[in-house]
Symmetry: C2
Subunit: 142 residues, 2 copies
């Protein structure tokens, strides 16, 4: 997989960053979606600098609120995210990234961080999901 810059013009890039409404802590949430099947893989936070690096490099960079540091997604795990599309929502305070995900997105080893289905009817739905996942896997390996 190859990283492709989201912006090739640095003025356009800065102009775009200036339209994003960061919160009082200087952050915006970024929803990361699988470009192949639209599965939501994770939600993480970006500050100006991580957004700049993401747009410039074409690889997802976030800001860890816990560690108070920038992180290149995949730097330690190898599970990089190659950004194929970036969208900003109507009020300018949330980002949506469509990515080619290498390996899995979640540190728990699942493809998505949203593997926990909740609700009274969750168990049946989970079974359905497992069957669908198995089906995809078998199809993939044909």
């Amino acid at each position: 997989m190859k990283a492709q810059p989201v912006f090739t013009d640095s003025k356009e890039l800065i102009d775009f960053i200036n339209t994003v409404k960061f919160d009082t802590a200087g952050l915006v949430p970024a929803v990361v979606q699988d470009v192949e099947n639209n599965e939501v893989l994770m939600v993480a936070w970006m500050n100006q600098e991580s957004l700049r690096r993401t747009l410039e490099s074409g690889q997802a960079w976030f800001y860890s609120r816990k560690r108070q540091a920038l992180w290149l997604k995949g730097e330690t795990s190898g599970n990089y995210q190659y950004v194929r599309e970036v969208r900003l929502d109507c009020d300018g305070d949330t980002l949506l990234l469509k990515v080619d995900q290498v390996g899995v997105a979640c540190h728990l080893g699942t493809r998505s961080c949203f593997s926990r289905l909740v609700g009274s009817s969750a168990p049946e739905k989970r079974t359905e999901r497992i069957i669908a996942d198995l089906y995809s896997l078998i199809k993939e390996r044909q």
Copy 2:
């Protein structure tokens, strides 16, 4: 369309809410996805009470940070969201809702709040998108 409660047992519902990690303002972001095609429609915020109402009623309730008030999505526009699936992410601080969306999700009249594609190659992508949207529309009306 019909609303179906996410939890039918009120103890289970309360137990679940207690596992959610609300931020210092008492909020969590909720990503709303179209259950049909996995398109991300919007991201909004929930406090404990809006989450409780959502899980109990099966219709999406949020908390408006601007108006500091609960809102039932669709109450004024008629564009209700019927919740079909709820997921919590691995660190318990972000929700994912899959919904049957009535009409459009965005107050600007677009299906999704993320209609603004950004980047140097955005215009071409936008054209592609318009063509794809037109194709769907024509197919729908056949």
